[in-house]
């Protein structure tokens, strides 16, 4: 097994006015390539902060984070953006699609940013749309799509650059139970078929159970890391 993500004693404080609030107080764990891992904890436990750090959106105050053997602390802003573009895909609780672009154009966006020719970008986005089961909805704007459909578009957008890691922040948090399960099923299917590493942050125990491993986090510290009962053998 190849370690794709290495989190080493990461600490992160937030400033609230004049006081520093510790969000992460020394967190260490590894993620293997192709693994489906959930970070489980109550709200305010620091799991979203951890996700932002793992995705290179923010930098830790202390400790190291190695993505695909690259220490992100040593990267410039520009290199970090490049790393997000090529190796990381984000899925958010509130979908975070650009409201004025069609589903297809939203999916294309990372390819546009990396300068892929328009024709190629468009055909690859079309393939992704098919993969998430929305080939009929490509021309629709996010406001014309249901929550589940929007999250599918977001997943397609996260996958289009073929990144090594998909980071999902409460991907079902804004969906009803049934739709939430469909999204989790989709992620599992993609994890199986495409071998991408999925790290899902959630406070929903039923979602957490679906993963191979669960990282339990509370008050900025890891309580436990367990193999999941419902997880499939790696």
């Amino acid at each position: 097994m190849v370690t794709i993500l290495d989190v080493r004693d990461v600490k992160k404080n937030y400033r609230m006015g004049k006081v520093f609030v510790p969000a992460l107080r020394g967190v260490s764990f590894n993620v293997e390539q192709g693994e489906m891992l959930t970070v489980f904890g109550p709200s305010g436990s620091g799991k979203s902060t951890l996700l932002h750090l793992m995705g290179g959106l923010d930098r830790p105050d202390e400790g190291d984070i190695l993505i695909d053997s690259v220490n992100i602390l040593k990267l410039s802003e520009g290199r970090l953006a490049e790393l997000r573009l090529t190796k990381i895909g984000f899925v958010f609780q509130f979908f975070n699609l650009l409201p004025r672009l069609s589903a297809l154009r939203n999916i294309e966006l990372p390819l546009d940013i990396s300068g892929v020719p328009e024709k190629e970008a468009s055909s690859r986005a079309q393939d992704m749309l098919k993969l998430v089961g929305l080939e009929e909805r490509g021309t629709h704007r996010p406001s014309e799509l249901s929550g589940g459909e929007q999250q599918r578009v977001a997943i397609a957008r996260a996958l289009i650059t073929n990144p090594k890691i998909i980071l999902a922040d409460e991907p079902t948090g804004n969906l009803d139970t049934k739709t939430g399960h469909e999204i989790v099923d989709l992620m599992e299917k993609l994890n199986d078929e495409k071998g991408q590493t999925f790290i899902v942050v959630t406070h929903d125990p039923r979602i957490a159970e679906e993963a191979d491993r669960i990282v339990y986090i509370k008050d900025g510290l890891i309580e436990a890391i367990k193999e999941s009962k419902g997880g499939r053998s790696g």
Partner: protein
């Protein structure tokens, strides 16, 4: 991000906010319209005035007066003055002229001719000096030894377009003393040998109201070779000022003569008009700066509204540079669209203004040698130069970039985590 994608995305974004975009663009349009209209009108006015000046003066002919304009006329020139001028380099032709301003010409039946000035000239040299202007409509110039003859200007010989004087008719040249009781001291009979073509131009070389007699007759009347004016033709109008200085140098006292250099007058007027044009454009440019502030204002609001969007772009891997470029592209597009519309609107406006201006500036009716009675109105036609169009367009884009830079930088500097949290 590819430039083409950058622009098409920016265009899409602008289209989503049609009202806001069109109002922002309107500011640029007004600025560019004003600049283009004023520049082309200024240029049109300059060309019109220059043409008038050039048609009023032969630019290659210098006019030499004795004395100076302020100190009064000095004693007339003598033949050696003329021959000295012929030796000045750059001079191709020198011809002296006697003027008799108080002379009057009557028909034999007693009716007066409307000659304002009687000049005694060398007809051959005058023809060479003013090849376009000193041309006959009827008859011929007098033979060199054919004294007591006269060639009349067109307006002198006609009344309301019909001939008032016939060829070979005898006229009386009458001169009176210059103070009361104005006794006639000369009454000489002259035979009409020719009538000049209508000059139809303004300026001091309009010969329509002149009567010309041979130089020898003038010498007899004046009792000597004393010339009031010497006309000097130079080979290059550009050297006029230098030749003028050299001509002054042929006199013992250079300040005893004045040389009128039409090309330098034209240049002066040109300079003044250029200054006026630049002044107007500077004012017009202020409106473009105001438009720039409008762009900055709108874009700053837009960046705030789109904070979350910027966070998303950064999360999926857009560099600060890319975000900066995306916002700048919108500013550039506003500049380009506003600039293009402004250029065409400016063309339209300048025609409208030219019309109004042409009607406002109507010279008063005066039949003088300085005022051509045939051209009453000043017609200003806007002149569009590619140069000004390009400058105005570039100015629009540059202003948009400069004022778009601050909000675009603000957008690019946003922290992705905070931007994503923004509601």
């Amino acid at each position: 991000m590819k430039a083409s994608k950058l622009l098409s995305t920016a265009l899409e974004n602008l289209k989503q906010r049609k009202l806001r975009t069109s109002l922002t663009t309107l500011g640029v349009v007004i600025g560019i319209t004003t600049i283009i209209a004023l520049a082309s009108l200024g240029e049109g006015l300059r060309v019109e005035i220059q043409q008038r000046l050039e048609s009023g003066f032969e630019l290659n002919v210098l006019i030499v007066f004795p004395g100076s304009f302020l100190a009064g006329f000095g004693s007339p020139f003598v033949p050696t003055d003329v021959s000295n001028m012929r030796n000045v380099s750059g001079v191709t032709l020198v011809t002296p002229m006697m003027t008799m301003p108080t002379a009057q010409i009557d028909k034999n039946n007693g009716s007066k001719l409307g000659a304002f000035t009687v000049g005694a000239v060398n007809f051959t040299e005058m023809g060479q000096m003013f090849p376009q202007r000193f041309k006959l409509a009827f008859g011929a110039f007098p033979e060199p030894d054919d004294n007591d003859t006269v060639v009349l200007g067109y307006k002198v010989a006609t009344r309301n377009g019909t001939a008032f004087v016939e060829l070979n008719e005898n006229l009386s040249l009458i001169m009176r003393s210059q103070s009361p009781p104005y006794t006639v001291y000369l009454n000489r009979t002259l035979r009409v040998t020719g009538i000049l073509q209508e000059g139809g131009t303004s300026g001091i070389t309009n010969f329509d109201y002149w009567a010309f007699i041979p130089l020898d007759t003038g010498v007899e009347i004046n009792g000597g070779e004393k010339y009031q004016i010497i006309l000097v033709q130079v080979n290059d109008p550009e050297t006029g000022q230098q030749v003028a200085t050299n001509i002054e140098g042929t006199f013992a006292n250079p300040y005893s003569v004045s040389v009128f250099v039409p090309s330098s007058l034209v240049r002066q007027v040109d300079n003044v008009l250029n200054i006026i044009t630049i002044f107007l454009l500077a004012i017009a440019s202020i409106s473009l700066l105001v438009a720039g502030v409008g762009i900055m204002n709108i874009m700053t609001v837009s960046v705030m509204e789109r904070t979350r969007e910027i966070g998303i772009l950064k999360a999926i891997g857009a560099k600060s540079r890319t975000v900066l470029a995306m916002f700048l592209a919108e500013a550039v597009l506003i500049g380009v669209i506003g600039g293009v519309i402004g250029i065409f609107a400016g063309y339209g406006l300048s025609y409208g203004l030219a019309r109004v201006l042409s009607q406002l500036i109507q010279p008063q009716q005066q039949d003088t040698v300085f005022q051509n009675p045939n051209r009453q109105t000043l017609t200003v036609t806007p002149v569009f130069s590619l140069e000004w169009t390009v400058i105005a367009f570039a100015f629009a884009v540059v202003v948009c970039i400069i004022f778009g830079l601050y909000p675009a930088r603000k957008a690019s500097k946003l922290n992705p985590v905070e931007a994503l949290r923004y509601e």
